[in-house]
């Protein structure tokens, strides 16, 4: 069917876009990454402790504590949506996980006989299958997150409610449920598998904090999915022009629901990891974290209007926030300045992008 060309098309009028005008180099993520590198160099000269192994581990761990949730919300922001319920979700998943874990580890609790028995001394609790409680309880937390994400996605994609309002409601609902199930008290991961739990969440591998390893793996997966699968392409198309996405036959409803489920799942996983580091899941855990997570995503180049963003940007945003926090501490500046500075950086990052896109 292809018609033979008399001559290949020549681009007489249309110039080639230069490499520095495309891809990462022309994105907000690129600029913020440059700023981050500048900041790291400045920090090195400002404080000899900054690049010490201990401090680096600290930084890596701290930013990993919001970065996984940031990956998830970046996905939602790319589709042009928003999820305000991530902070509550982190808390609720962590809570469900630790409650299931301690419940199943207490002989006499419903279902616990399947998992534990008392040792001969009548006091020590022994797991029937080591690790099984851990798996079941983490799954319980993640499935809870998936259900909440599905409800978010269903309300937004099928019922047509606004993402802002839906997830604002969900923020309150999930936080409230957290207080209901825990009666306002914190819950603690306990039982025979608690050691595994702490090893997985706040341990390290050859000096690299475990959360950081999860983050790198998840970010790599997300980058591949976004740029090399049709799901990722549909996510971008949805944020670029939702009507076009619909007209070209993209399953808009399904993609939206999936995106909110992934976001909630990431938040849930993040919450579980944070609770391992805290050693408990208090009912007020991760309160207002949604603002940090959204701020990190936006600084990293995710555009709240939709259509722009990526895994690298999410991480860059989180690292930048953490380096600033860490830097202010090392410089012995009052930590109250941190929040002010974060606000300034959000506006600056968006402003630079605005100016750049106006000049090209």
């Amino acid at each position: 069917m292809a018609m033979p060309l008399e001559s290949p098309i020549s681009f007489t009028n249309v110039g080639r876009i230069r490499w520095w005008q495309r891809g990462i180099f022309a994105s907000q993520t690129g600029y913020v990454l440059l700023a981050l590198l500048g900041l790291l160099i400045a920090m090195h000269f400002a404080s000899p402790y900054f690049f010490s192994q201990g401090n680096m581990q600290n930084v890596a761990k701290n930013f990993s504590f919001i970065a996984i949730a940031t990956l998830g919300i970046t996905l939602v922001i790319i589709t042009g949506g928003i999820d305000l319920s991530v902070g509550s979700m982190m808390c609720f998943s962590a809570m469900v996980t630790s409650m299931v874990m301690s419940g199943l580890s207490t002989p006499g609790m419903p279902g616990a006989f399947l998992f534990v028995h008392l040792a001969a001394d009548g006091k020590t609790v022994v797991a029937n299958v080591p690790g099984l409680i851990l798996i079941v309880s983490i799954l319980a937390g993640l499935v809870t997150a998936l259900i909440v994400g599905f409800v978010n996605g269903f309300c937004i994609a099928v019922l047509g409610l606004s993402p802002f309002v839906t997830t604002l409601g969900m923020l309150s609902i999930v936080r409230g449920l957290g207080y209901v199930v825990s009666n306002g008290r914190g819950s603690f991961p306990g039982g025979p598998d608690a050691d595994y739990f702490y090893a997985l969440t706040s341990g390290d591998l050859l000096g690299v904090p475990a959360p950081f390893i999860y983050l790198v793996v998840l970010a790599a997966v997300m980058a591949i999915v976004l740029h090399h699968t049709s799901f990722g392409r549909h996510v971008f198309a949805l944020g670029g022009n939702e009507k076009a996405a619909e007209l070209t036959g993209i399953p808009v409803v399904r993609v939206k629901i999936e995106v909110y489920m992934i976001c909630a799942l990431a938040a849930g996983l993040q919450g579980i990891i944070v609770s391992g580091w805290l050693g408990s899941a208090p009912a007020n855990m991760a309160t207002s974290y949604e603002l940090n997570v959204i701020a990190a995503a936006v600084i990293g180049g995710a555009n709240l209007a939709g259509g722009v963003g990526g895994a690298l940007g999410a991480i860059v945003g989180c690292v930048l926030l953490e380096v600033i926090r860490n830097g202010l501490v090392l410089a012995q500046v009052s930590s109250y300045w941190q929040q002010t500075l974060v606000g300034v950086i959000i506006i600056l990052a968006v402003l630079v992008d605005r100016i750049r896109s106006r000049t090209t």
Partner: protein, 254 residues
């Protein structure tokens, strides 16, 4: 050029199409034939029934009465995707492009080419870019597959939207006001794109308000007024004045 396809089987045939929305009669007893390689201009004032007719052909609406035949067979479209499956493509007025994606990504949106690696399917970027470049070549459009649609001119955007219809080897392409919002030079590009489609035996329905464009590319013009077909004649047997009179109702029918 000889009026195309006066012989042979029409690619699209409408028989006695009527559409009512409650008490409102949007279309009444419309018969229409479109032949392969023919460009038909569909004209009419706002509310004349053009868009209802287009939406019936594109599968957005079902007709209240009448029959749609495509390639000789009666067809029933329940959704736009059904119409696309038999070979009807629509280029929408706002083009339905995602600005943040590249030209190639837009051409293949919803129909991405994939490469299987084990259990996973990954996008085949090279194959899509190569095929898109080929399509732009056929359309004689200077459009690079890797450029973002955001950075493109109106004419290039049209080329991307039209290239999308070429992907499936559509037999009928309906274009809704393709020249409404672009510059004079780009109008010329779009009209030449329509010529390219015609050369390849594709039937084109051009819905337009712009008389010069219709007279520049169409073989035949169909005028709608008050939900009825008032005229259907070869372009060489009519004049812009007559068509204007038919659209406004100064002349009842021709």
């Amino acid at each position: 050029m000889e009026t195309a396809g006066t012989a042979g089987q029409p690619v699209l045939e409408l028989r006695g199409i009527g559409k009512e929305f409650g008490a409102i009669r949007a279309l009444h007893d419309v018969d229409l034939q479109v032949f392969p390689g023919e460009v038909v201009g569909l004209m009419g004032d706002n509310g004349a029934g053009k868009s209802t007719l287009v939406k019936i052909i594109a599968g957005n609406f079902r007709p209240t009465v009448g029959e749609v035949r495509f390639d000789g067979d009666a067809v029933h479209f329940y959704r736009p995707i059904d119409a696309r499956a038999v070979g009807i493509e629509v280029v929408y007025q706002d083009l339905a492009l995602a600005d943040n994606l590249t030209a190639a990504a837009n051409v293949f949106l919803g129909r991405e080419l994939k490469r299987r690696v084990g259990p996973f399917a990954f996008l085949d970027h090279n194959a899509m870019a190569a095929r898109a470049l080929e399509l732009f070549g056929e359309l004689r459009s200077e459009t690079r597959p890797h450029d973002l649609v955001k950075q493109m001119s109106g004419g290039q955007r049209q080329a991307v939207a039209i290239a999308r219809t070429r992907l499936s080897n559509a037999k009928l392409v309906m274009m809704d006001e393709p020249t409404a919002a672009i510059s004079v030079r780009q109008v010329e590009q779009v009209l030449s794109l329509i010529h390219r489609l015609k050369e390849q035996g594709v039937a084109v329905m051009l819905i337009s308000h712009r008389m010069p464009d219709v007279f520049a590319v169409c073989d035949r013009v169909v005028v709608m007024r008050r939900g009825e077909k008032r005229a259907d004649k070869p372009i060489r047997d009519t004049s812009p004045e007559e068509v204007t009179a038919l659209i406004t109702g100064a002349k009842e029918a021709a």
